[in-house]
């Protein structure tokens, strides 16, 4: 036969808290003890050493490559947008302008060398 207790909210909160405390005790008793291992008691950080956690900023090498990758990423985006438009004329225009610059640089260097050392 079911027993229904209708009480004040405070009393029900008290009963429920007592019930919770009883189950809490049972759970603690049930799950205490067991086999424990202290071998390899270091923190698990995916195989990394705990010293990793002391590093507040990335190392110099990591910073360098981070910046280079970020900067090179932008360069790559510019190049891709210019060269990879899918139009042959865009590509040839880019290549012609690039080779023209290289040619002017080569001529300039040749002129400098010739004027300094002579032919």
């Amino acid at each position: 036969m079911a027993v229904t207790v209708v009480a004040s909210p405070g009393a029900v909160a008290g009963y429920i808290t007592a019930a919770m405390a009883l189950v809490f005790g049972v759970m603690l008793a049930l799950f205490s003890g067991g086999r424990r291992s202290r071998s390899g008691d270091e923190m698990y950080i995916g195989g990394e050493s705990e010293a990793l956690l002391k590093v507040r900023v990335p190392s110099n090498v990591a910073m360098y490559w981070g910046i280079v990758r970020r900067a090179m990423g932008r360069v790559y985006t510019v190049l891709r947008d210019v060269v990879h438009s899918g139009k042959l004329s865009t590509w040839s225009g880019f290549m012609v302008s690039w080779f023209t610059i290289l040619m002017f640089i080569a001529i300039g260097i040749t002129v400098v060398i010739a004027s300094v050392y002579g032919w």
């Binding site: 029900v12 603690l28 086999r35 424990r36």
Partner: protein
């Protein structure tokens, strides 16, 4: 008088520890885990648990027993296993004590506005207990997982509380006995089936079911809300360092939370076995069908979705749980002021 009191106390302790308390809820939790694993596996063209017991039904129990009896508990240098146990025992205690508010229990507690006691137990103690347990093992993965858990709880718990207020408000407004014990979980559960018969309250109840299902999915960390655990990303997130008995305790807590949430939806929103009595063939059939239906709906979502990112999870809970719950609660409050 003395015999009567002894009988009441005896039946209260039996309800708490045996049925529908700790023992029954543990069995239901293990069944629920098996159901989710099996149905989810079949949806994804896998076998699921197969070998232990008929159709693998005892596999979750064996997994838990293996953790409890055989596996070692790794004690980490900075850990506090006792703190972890206290946190999880508090959370399990809160869940088990909550069943005394449901009509399933032979010993039932009711009070005006006891819905807030339920909210206090399930939305505060369970979450707090879990956070206390997880932080007992300091670890970058654990801290990240726990911070995600707290982020989800910040939105899922208010949505869950708003959802459970819908049927209790409607019961208080529409049922004649609602004025005697207003906002009672027990009496709302016994009359929830009536709330589906009124056109206006039907809309509010439908919104309530929708929102509490979404909130439960997030509270129980079922996909797509398994963000705190995030297996491939955070190893095991908030439970990375748990092992042995401690992991068995966590598994039990997690399964109990799913089982109790499904039971609460079955009673508070879907009306349990009513209008049939509990101890009748139609009553038991209706109750089991509703419980399995709720579990099936949770499983379908769990199996059909991939994991959300934390901000997607947060927005999804707000969109699919909090907002429908607030709209439903608004309708329920409107009905309340019209009828009371």
């Amino acid at each position: 008088m003395g015999m009567g009191l002894a009988y009441d106390v005896g039946i209260a302790i039996a309800s708490l520890l045996l049925f529908p308390g700790f023992v029954f809820l543990s069995a239901l939790a293990i069944f629920s885990e098996w159901f989710i694993r099996k149905v989810g596996a079949r949806m994804q063209n896998r076998m699921g648990p197969t070998y232990v017991g008929p159709a693998g039904i005892l596999q979750p129990l064996m997994d838990m027993l293996k953790l409890y009896l055989v596996k070692e508990e790794k004690v980490q240098r900075y850990s506090s296993p006792t703190q972890a146990r206290i946190g999880m025992a508090l959370a399990i205690g809160a869940i088990v004590a909550s069943v005394l508010l449901l009509p399933l229990s032979p010993f039932r507690l009711a009070a005006p506005y006891d819905v807030m006691v339920l909210a206090y137990l399930c939305a505060v103690w369970v979450t707090m207990g879990l956070i206390v347990a997880c932080l007992a093992y300091p670890n970058p993965f654990t801290v990240t997982g726990t911070s995600r858990l707290i982020t989800l709880a910040v939105i899922a718990e208010p949505a869950w509380v708003a959802a459970i207020l819908i049927p209790t408000t409607l019961y208080t407004a529409l049922c004649p006995q609602g004025h005697a014990v207003p906002f009672s979980v027990l009496f709302t559960s016994m009359n929830a089936w009536r709330l589906w018969l009124h056109p206006a309250s039907f809309v509010a109840m439908a919104l309530g079911v929708w929102s509490i299902m979404a909130a439960t999915q997030a509270k129980a960390m079922l996909k797509p809300f398994d963000i705190p655990e995030a297996e491939q990303e955070l190893i095991a997130g908030h439970i990375t360092e748990f092992s042995g008995r401690l992991l068995a305790m966590y598994e039990l807590l997690h399964d109990m939370e799913i089982a109790f949430s499904a039971l609460l939806i079955t009673y508070l929103f879907l009306g349990g076995p009513y209008p049939f009595p509990h101890l009748s063939a139609p009553g038991i059939a209706v109750l089991v069908a509703k419980y399995v239906g709720v579990l099936f709906a949770l499983t379908v979502v769990h199996s059909a979705f991939g994991r959300f990112r934390i901000e997607q999870g947060f927005i999804s809970v707000a969109k699919y749980s909090l907002i429908p719950a607030l709209i439903g609660l608004g309708i329920a409050i409107g009905i309340y002021f019209t009828h009371v």
